[in-house]
């Protein structure tokens, strides 16, 4: 069966219901983030770069994450221990330890007791909490600014209310649903992670702008033929990006890169739903009402 015939069968009688799928995603995300907010006071967990604290990397093979983690937890309470791995060689390269309630010297001394490492294997990052707090606020402002700017560009480009709103709504759902998933996975977000959301805005509207242009501004062929064309092009775009960030996530060692790739990966999968099921259905509804 040809793609346009398939799309016509799926969307022709169901587009109103399909809009609800996308809106349902929005509601679920808001509920998850809301629960986070009321139970912990924040919609998402921040890492030490955004709340202050220290991160230590010890580059040494064969360290026992479990053992060190329980040892440090006993001593200092809430300490986050991860293994630094290089997936291409499947080699564990060491440990990353993050804590926000202990000084560096104290933490280093405690680690020295348990692990035999020398200075060349030791790397650290520390952030004062007041600096991190203002850093976080600034990044959130940047993200909001970028979102508003995107909304203006979209509105100016299409100059029609519903289609512009649909594009902006899709980007909003992409961001909120990704945040919700990140929080369910208990991933602490870092400064790099917030910038990943800037990219999410970009990747999100790419496919939406394509879809909207094809459906509303172009006149050649039937609506479903044009829909099919933009699904083909848009899915190729999204799948190449998904492949790239997935590979990037698997093979990079630096945690900032891993985090950026993971966030974009999740957002791109969400974006397939919001673009073709959500935005697509809204546009079909709009076209049918306007009889374009």
């Amino acid at each position: 069966m040809k793609l346009e015939a398939f799309l016509e069968r799926v969307y022709e009688n169901n587009y109103k219901k399909l809009i609800l799928v996308s809106l349902g995603l929005l509601v679920i995300s808001l509920i998850i983030l809301g629960i986070n907010y009321f139970s912990t006071g924040a919609v998402i967990e921040r890492d030490i770069s955004l709340k202050g604290g220290i991160s230590v990397t010890i580059e040494k093979e064969g360290l026992n994450e479990q053992e060190i983690s329980s040892y440090l937890a006993q001593k200092f309470g809430n300490v986050n221990v991860r293994t630094l791995t290089e997936l291409s060689t499947r080699k564990d390269m060491g440990l990353i330890i993050e804590a926000s309630n202990v000084g560096e010297d104290e933490l280093k001394a405690a680690l020295k007791e348990k692990i035999n490492f020398d200075e060349s294997q030791y790397s650290s990052e520390s952030y004062s909490s007041s600096f991190s707090e203002s850093f976080y606020k600034q990044l959130v402002m940047v993200l909001l600014f970028a979102f508003i700017l995107m909304a203006i560009v979209v509105a100016v480009t299409f100059r029609t209310f519903i289609p512009s709103l649909a594009v902006i709504l899709a980007a909003l759902i992409d961001i909120l649903a990704t945040l919700a998933i990140i929080s369910l996975l208990h991933i602490q977000i870092s400064a790099g992670g917030i910038t990943a959301f800037l990219l999410v805005i970009g990747y999100s509207i790419d496919t939406d702008v394509l879809l909207t242009t094809k459906l509303i501004k172009r006149k050649i062929g039937t609506m479903y033929e044009r829909f099919a064309q933009s699904v083909k092009t848009g899915l190729t775009m999204t799948i190449t990006s998904i492949a790239a960030v997935f590979v990037g996530y698997l093979f990079s060692a630096a945690s900032i890169l891993k985090e950026i790739f993971l966030i974009i990966f999740i957002a791109l999968i969400i974006d397939i739903i919001t673009t073709y099921i959500g935005n697509g259905s809204i546009l079909i509804w709009y076209i049918k009402n306007k009889k374009i």
């Binding site: 940047v142 394509l210 242009t213 190729t236 990006s241």
Partner: protein, 511 residues
């Protein structure tokens, strides 16, 4: 298909940009020996005429090839060569030969660079501190602060450092200090503290650190500075350092005035001292108290011996500590206090091995990501005439971005690498749009198809660039690399590589 059609103006512009990037990055296979990164002033290397140009590119550093007839192929070759007992070193470099005395050589060497890409801290290892003055400073004070810091690190002997200003959206001013070779504690001691040195008799300050009061500080000269004694003390060892300084006339006079009215005490062993000692304070902590010989009463003595302790669990550690404390105090006496106390708000130290791991790994990850893209593209179009130009375009986009960052002397960090990958990602998206527009039978006119594609691309481009601009400044520019690389990458993409790509596949798809 005519091959000449392939070389349209758009393609020529692309080739031009690739050439510029190539020249900027300057990949070099000439990498025998070790490269000279800096030369200390007044060292025997400087006397022999070795120098490093101020703005030298990494690949143009002079390289040491031979020392005393032994080939130098690695840093360990170099260190064993200079540790030899030979009195003189005959050094052959790629530019000439030098003869120098084998003492106080004063060379900092490194592995030769294989290209001109400047590696940021995360990729080469080192310490970075983000420092905030604890009071609001005016422009002049802020400059003084930076100058004093620079001077202090210089006097202490730290080379290869970057001190730069930064500010955030809220208008707060910061200083970023990046040092390749220093340890965290050294940086903390040298610039994290104000370094206010005061010598007091009773409650009166007689002199302070800095060249107004202290005209000379003896260093690296055993006759007037060094460790004088080591003793067992309180379950460990304590060593005492001493060095001579010379006071200015005013400071000496102040001291004379302060001692004029003091009484003399005589100790059991028969020495006679003034009733109050000279107390040395560093950042308001007492470092040492020196008894003043009674014959100095009321005299404007200009030569003063400063002393202080160093402690450790054994003698070796105590000696090390005393030496470090002495060096620190000498530095502070020479350079004076910073205009205000400081807060280190962020501090990173990355070991060189972790840095090089990150570097190799990021490169592999980026290449594998491009391969993954190529695979998806090939599956979709099943034509090498589409997927090969696309991969070529993506790689050249990343390469040109890297070249332009190098040209701007930007220190490449992980955030910038992420930005390049992101730009290449959006680039591929746009190429897919172009390809599908060109393949579609929608409009007869090629130009029109192309225009349609660029409408979509330009919208996405404007959004991307605009959203990155505030990130250039936010959070003291910590994520500047990301924003900069993304902006450069997408701009190169939209105006250089993608027009060329459209042209290439138009020709290849037989128009």
């Amino acid at each position: 298909m005519k091959l000449a059609n392939l070389f349209s103006i758009r393609v020529i512009i692309l080739i031009l940009f690739i050439l510029i990037a190539l020249i900027a990055i300057h990949p070099s296979t000439n990498n025998e020996g070790v490269s000279i990164r800096s030369v200390d002033t007044n060292s025997s290397a400087a006397f022999a005429g070795i120098s490093v140009a101020l703005n030298a590119q990494p690949t143009s550093y002079e390289r040491i090839l031979e020392i005393n007839g032994n080939k130098i192929n690695s840093l360990s070759d170099y260190s064993s060569a200079i540790e030899s007992d030979e009195e003189k070193l005959f050094i052959t470099t790629n530019r000439g030969s030098y003869t120098l005395l084998n003492e106080n050589i004063g060379l900092v060497v490194d592995k030769p660079a294989s290209n001109n890409i400047l590696k940021g801290l995360e990729l080469q290892g080192g310490t970075r501190a983000l420092i905030q003055p604890s009071e609001k400073l005016n422009e002049q004070q802020f400059q003084d602060l930076i100058d004093t810091m620079q001077n202090r690190l210089d006097v202490y002997g730290i080379k290869q450092l970057i001190i730069k200003r930064a500010s955030d959206i809220g208008g707060n001013k910061y200083i970023i200090v990046e040092i390749a070779g220093a340890t965290k504690s050294e940086v903390q001691e040298l610039i994290g503290k104000q370094g206010k040195f005061e010598a007091k008799i009773g409650s009166e300050v007689v002199f302070e650190g800095g060249n107004k009061d202290v005209t000379f500080v003896c260093r690296n000269d055993g006759t007037c500075s060094g460790i004088r004694s080591c003793n067992e003390a309180q379950g460990g060892y304590q060593c005492q350092f001493e060095f001579q300084i010379k006071l200015s006339e005013e400071a000496a006079q102040k001291q004379a005035d302060a001692t004029k009215l003091l009484d003399t005490n005589v100790t059991e062993s028969g020495y006679s001292y003034l009733e109050k000692p000279l107390d040395l304070y560093l950042d308001n902590n007492l470092v040492d108290s020196l008894n003043i010989a009674s014959d100095l009463k009321g005299k404007a003595a200009r030569d003063i011996v400063i002393s202080g302790p160093g402690i450790g669990p054994n003698q070796e550690e105590a000696l090390k500590d005393a030496n470090a404390n002495m060096k620190k105090l000498q530095t502070i006496l020479i350079t004076g206090a910073l205009p205000t106390s400081l807060v280190i708000v962020k501090m990173d130290s990355i070991s060189p091995t972790l840095g090089s791991t990150f570097e190799k790994n990021a490169l592999t990850a980026a290449l594998l990501a491009i391969l993954a893209i190529a695979l998806v593209i090939f599956i979709r179009y099943r034509k090498l005439s589409i997927s090969l130009p696309m991969v070529f375009t993506s790689i050249s986009e990343a390469f040109i971005t890297l070249g332009l960052l190098t040209l701007m002397k930007y220190n490449l960090d992980l955030a910038a690498i992420a930005g390049i990958i992101a730009a290449v990602g959006t680039g591929v998206d746009d190429q897919v749009v172009i390809t599908d527009e060109i393949l579609s039978k929608e409009s007869v006119n090629w130009k029109e198809r192309y225009k349609k594609a660029f409408f979509i691309i330009l919208t996405a481009y404007l959004t991307a660039v605009a959203s990155m601009i505030p990130l250039l400044m936010a959070g003291v520019g910590l994520l500047k690399g990301f924003a900069l690389a993304t902006i450069i990458g997408v701009t190169v993409g939209v105006f250089v590589t993608r027009p060329a790509y459209a042209n290439i596949i138009k020709v290849l798809l037989n128009e």
